[in-house]
């Protein structure tokens, strides 16, 4: 393995490997970011939506307030246009998938609280909200389908009547031994552990909500839409399909976007509504999602249920997994990822980085009267990691070994890489056992075990736990084509243009909303062209000027856009050398480009990039015949040599103190051993890990979107939905390994999501380790004080029942 081996080239201070300060920072520190909410267009009007107050019902009538009939629009209005506006329908080629029809404004039924019913427009947002408040909707209530298991097994109603059930999709993934051989393995396994686990529904809650500003450009006969989006080219495609206008007539611009995490990787009903409205009324229009809309009306994430059994040998070595998993996908299948992504991912990634003899996982994507779910940072991996890693700990306990010993006995070994696992996931590289060994050393497991031997003075219970995971990233065509959803990533392009003063413009179709691509892709350009990163300008998130891209999701941008930028810059090197060879009147092989300067090998003639660009654009009379007429503008395209994804991975190890009197959990120490291959900008990588881990701590301990039996959301403010603050999040210690991906341009691996994946599992293992003397165990996330106390109480009553029987 080549992790930790000295780098092949010297460490750059400006190129790949440099912790270069971010080019983005200046405008944000000055308060000059251009978020959608800051955009004002002449004559712009404001939109507010009248939304459903009930989770499930039939819309009988919508009454527009008297005097404001011209300011209120319903689906009937949108359908009356030519062409009529259609519903969001995400088709999938997965067998048995049932698509939903999500009308941008509710037509016959409402299927979740907050579903938009009427669009109201006025000179100010406040006035638009006044009008929305005056819209009266007659709704015949229907029973709300709230719990996903009930929705599957004994539904009180059908969310989509035409289906006949509430199942978007059922899948079965099997690998290894089957049938009688699987049954024999189960029968002979020394260790069998079974759990029912749940993870809460969450809200992704970026600090900036969604927002749309749009206008119809009559000169270009084109919709111009500013929207807080992660994948603007996908939004354009979805707008085209629902509005019935061609894609060239739509320009989607994602300006500065205040955090995404998956929440902004979606075609919005509100985008469709405003696109129709601006054309209909001939005025620019604006809608900014407020926090209440963000929390109660728009999409959630991550509500999983696992009924899982793990089989292991007497040493705790994993033999088989048998699992039924249910995902609460909510009311609709969102564009483009569909309602099936989460559950299908559960089925394929549950084995994690482990070897085993047999695997079976059946999944159900269930529809309920709650908002749709979207893939949140890490997508299904956070839930999957919680499931497999708590079960590994349980198996280790049953086998009487330390949890890390059970993991070391089961992990893929470095000399087996690349490795195709039991669900045919192709692991590109890595040394997982070493990550665990380093994490155990860094957290100092023996010291915590020793401390557990003595009661704490404050009565708290000490626990230590860890979790390991793999993060498949930048996976492409071969992984996604089979899903048949509206988005299959293919080749990624970068347009590169040298300006007459020798600066470089890079145009990519992905979007940077905190990931720092304006800096890191300039570092890639520096690595190839030697150009000062300060002289590189990244243009992103604008369909009008950038190549098509599926956008920023799945930790793909540094691999895909990074690879495309490298390809474009490599082409640019050849263009520069060709022009220089003609100018210098020397053979092409006598021209070299280094440190942003092109020279002949004799060292006689030399030009800066600025001087060469000046000649090309401003003094073309100096260019002899035969020079490449294509000039200093190129398109570079990229796809990883093997496109099944890079595999970053990490081991998170944590020590906790649990207060058995209050249920409070304190994180005493937190160690992350992470391997993301070549780090293009280590500072940025650490920032992604810190931030992801904070979100994962939210998943583990705090964040929960609860609903009552009527499907009413119980968190409508950030006082009810608790995001971790500076006092809840420790400063983790990060230890890097570096196993380069064999398939990517610089050996880099996608890593934006990993931090958020493991905290739930690692902290759960630590909390359960702490509670073991009480016989209590947590099986649900988040591990709020209420749940900790309930687990302790349940253990106490179970112990009491045993004691009671003994006395009788």
């Amino acid at each position: 393995m080549d992790h930790d081996i000295a780098r092949a080239r010297p460490l750059s201070t400006t190129g790949v490997g440099a912790s270069l300060p971010r080019k983005e920072d200046r405008r944000f520190l000055a308060g000059e970011g251009e978020f959608v909410g800051n955009i004002k267009l002449p004559g712009m009007l404001h939109v507010a939506f009248a939304r459903s107050a009930v989770a499930h019902g039939r819309v009988l009538a919508i009454h527009k307030p008297a005097g404001f009939e011209g300011a209120v629009f319903t689906m009937a209005d949108l359908e009356a246009g030519s062409p009529p506006v259609g519903p969001i329908r995400v088709l999938s080629s997965l067998p048995g998938f049932k698509p939903s029809s999500q009308w941008p404004l509710a037509r016959d039924k409402v299927r979740q609280v907050g579903e938009p019913i009427a669009m109201c427009v006025a000179a100010t947002r406040a006035e638009a909200e006044d009008i929305a408040d005056a819209v009266v909707v007659d709704i015949e209530d229907l029973p709300a389908v709230v719990d996903m298991l009930q929705a599957r097994d004994a539904p009180p109603a059908l969310v989509h009547e035409e289906w006949g059930d509430n199942i978007f999709l059922e899948t079965l993934v099997e690998g290894g031994l089957k049938g009688d051989e699987f049954e024999a393995l189960k029968g002979s396994a020394a260790v069998k552990v079974h759990r029912r686990l749940r993870t809460a529904r969450q809200s992704m809650a970026p600090m900036e909500g969604r927002g749309v500003v749009c206008t119809w450009n009559t000169r270009l006969d084109q919709l111009e839409m500013y929207t807080a989006a992660q994948m603007p080219h996908i939004n354009r495609a979805g707008l085209s399909e629902t509005l019935g206008i061609d894609q060239a007539s739509i320009r989607v611009i994602a300006p500065d976007v205040g955090g995404g995490f998956g929440y902004k990787g979606i075609l919005l009903p509100e985008e469709i509504c405003l696109a129709w409205l601006t054309r209909h009324i001939g005025r620019p229009v604006k809608w900014i999602e407020d926090r209440r809309e963000q929390l109660i009306a728009n999409t959630n994430c991550r509500e999983h249920h696992y009924d899982i059994t793990v089989y292991a040998d007497a040493r705790g070595r994993l033999l088989a997994i048998d699992c039924d998993s249910v995902i609460d996908s909510g009311a609709y299948s969102s564009y483009p990822f569909s309602a099936c992504l989460e559950a299908a991912q559960v089925g394929s990634i549950l084995p994690g980085p482990y070897k085993m003899e047999a695997f079976r996982c059946r999944t159900w994507s269930v529809s309920t009267n709650k908002p749709p779910i979207l893939p949140y940072r890490g997508v299904a991996r956070a839930g999957v990691c919680f499931a497999i890693e708590t079960l590994i700990d349980a198996a280790a306990l049953a086998a009487g070994v330390e949890p890390h010993e059970a993991r070391l006995a089961s992990l893929i070994e470095p000399d087996e890489m690349p490795y195709d696992n039991i669900t045919r996931k192709h692991f590109d590289s890595g040394d997982y056992p070493e990550a665990i060994r380093r994490a155990m050393e860094a957290i100092d497991l023996p010291a915590w075990r020793a401390r557990q031997g003595t009661p704490e003075p404050d009565g708290r219970l000490i626990g230590v736990g860890h979790a390991v995971f793999c993060e498949q990233a930048a996976h492409g065509t071969s992984v996604y084509y089979g899903w048949g959803i509206p988005m299959v990533p293919g080749h990624e392009q970068c347009g590169a243009r040298m300006t007459p003063d020798g600066r470089l413009e890079l145009r990519i179709g992905a979007q940077s909303h905190g990931q720092s691509l304006e800096t890191t892709l300039a570092q890639v350009a520096n690595e190839i062209l030697g150009i000062d990163p300060a002289h590189v300008r990244l243009v992103h998130g604008d369909t009008g000027v950038t190549p098509y891209s599926t956008g920023t999701w799945g930790s793909r941008s540094m691999v895909m856009s990074g690879g495309a930028v490298a390809e474009a810059c490599t082409l640019m090197v050849e263009r520069v050398r060709d022009i220089a060879a003609h100018l210098f009147q020397v053979p092409l092989d006598q021209v070299v480009l280094a440190q942003g300067r092109v020279s002949d090998r004799a060292g006689v003639q030399s030009l800066t990039l600025a001087e060469l660009a000046h000649v090309w654009y401003r003094q073309p009379q100096r260019l002899p015949p035969g020079v490449n007429p294509a000039g200093l503008e190129v398109i570079g395209g990229y796809k990883a040599r093997v496109d099944t994804g890079t595999f970053s991975y990490a081991c998170h190890a944590v020590a906790v103190a649990v207060d058995p009197g209050t249920g409070a959990v304190e994180l005493l120490d937190y160690v992350i051993v992470e391997d993301a291959g070549t780090l293009v900008n280590p500072m940025v990588v650490d920032g992604q890990i810190y931030g992801g881990t904070a979100q994962g701590i939210g998943t583990a301990l705090f964040e929960e979107m609860r609903y009552d039996s009527q499907g009413q959301p119980l968190a409508s403010t950030l006082a009810d939905y608790m995001l971790p603050g500076a006092t809840e999040v420790p400063a983790p210690r990060i230890i890097h390994m570096e196993t380069r991906s064999p398939y990517t341009t610089f050996g880099q691996k996608g890593m934006g999501e990993g931090g958020a994946i493991a905290p739930g599992a690692a902290i759960a293992n630590a909390v359960n380790d702490a509670l073991r003397p009480l016989g209590a165990e947590l099986t649900e996330l988040p591990m709020s004080p209420r749940r900790v106390m309930a687990a302790i109480a349940a253990a106490g009553s179970a112990a009491g029942a045993v004691a009671g029987r003994g006395a009788a």
């Binding site: 600090m207 160690v671 904070a694 995001l723 400063a731 988040p782 709020s784």
Partner: protein, 172 residues
């Protein structure tokens, strides 16, 4: 409409406002000062933090008409301010921002911490930051930046916490 007179970033202003308009909307929509971002509009997230009469305040739960006679300073009003200049540099060096949306409010709070509590230990810094949410950075860089500015000012932050979390968790 009500007429109010106040000072915004050193400039005296007289303006007509609706009684229901909050300060952030007044600044963003009427004064075109869009550096103050709105995160929740119910006083929890701290993104809209600015200075009213020299103290940090949440502009989303402050009515503009309540600011009669007040002196307001937004993120646009710190040119030439030494602590803010040091914080801006440290925020960049320590990677204390990613998407940049919480940053203006975070900077105003950070400036209050470094000027009001020089030498504060990390635990106190984190407690002071607890009214400003960031969804991107995990606060690591923000805390480091504040400590760095305190150290530059000759008032180094008190004992670091290495890996140990600073204060008892807040129960949800």
């Amino acid at each position: 409409m009500t007429t109010i007179r106040l000072t915004v970033n050193g400039q005296p202003i007289e303006a007509e406002v609706q009684p229901r308009t909050h300060l952030a909307d007044f600044l963003r929509e009427q004064q075109l000062l869009t550096g103050t971002n709105l995160g929740c509009e119910h006083g929890i997230c701290g993104a809209c933090t600015l200075e009213i009469d020299g103290a940090p305040a949440r502009s989303c739960i402050t009515y503009a008409i309540d600011c009669e006679g007040a002196s307001i300073r937004t993120i646009e009003g710190f040119d030439g301010d030494a602590p803010m200049a040091a914080l801006r540099a440290a925020f960049s060096t320590e990677h204390a921002l990613q998407c940049g949306y919480c940053t203006p409010g975070m900077l105003v709070t950070a400036r209050d911490i470094v000027t009001r509590l020089p030498g504060a230990p990390e635990a106190r810094i984190r407690k002071e930051l607890s009214g400003n949410l960031c969804r991107c950075t995990g606060y690591a860089g923000i805390v480091r930046a504040i400590r760095a500015v305190m150290a530059q000012s000759g008032t180094p932050s008190g004992p670091g916490l290495a890996s140990v979390r600073p204060v008892a968790p807040t129960a949800p």
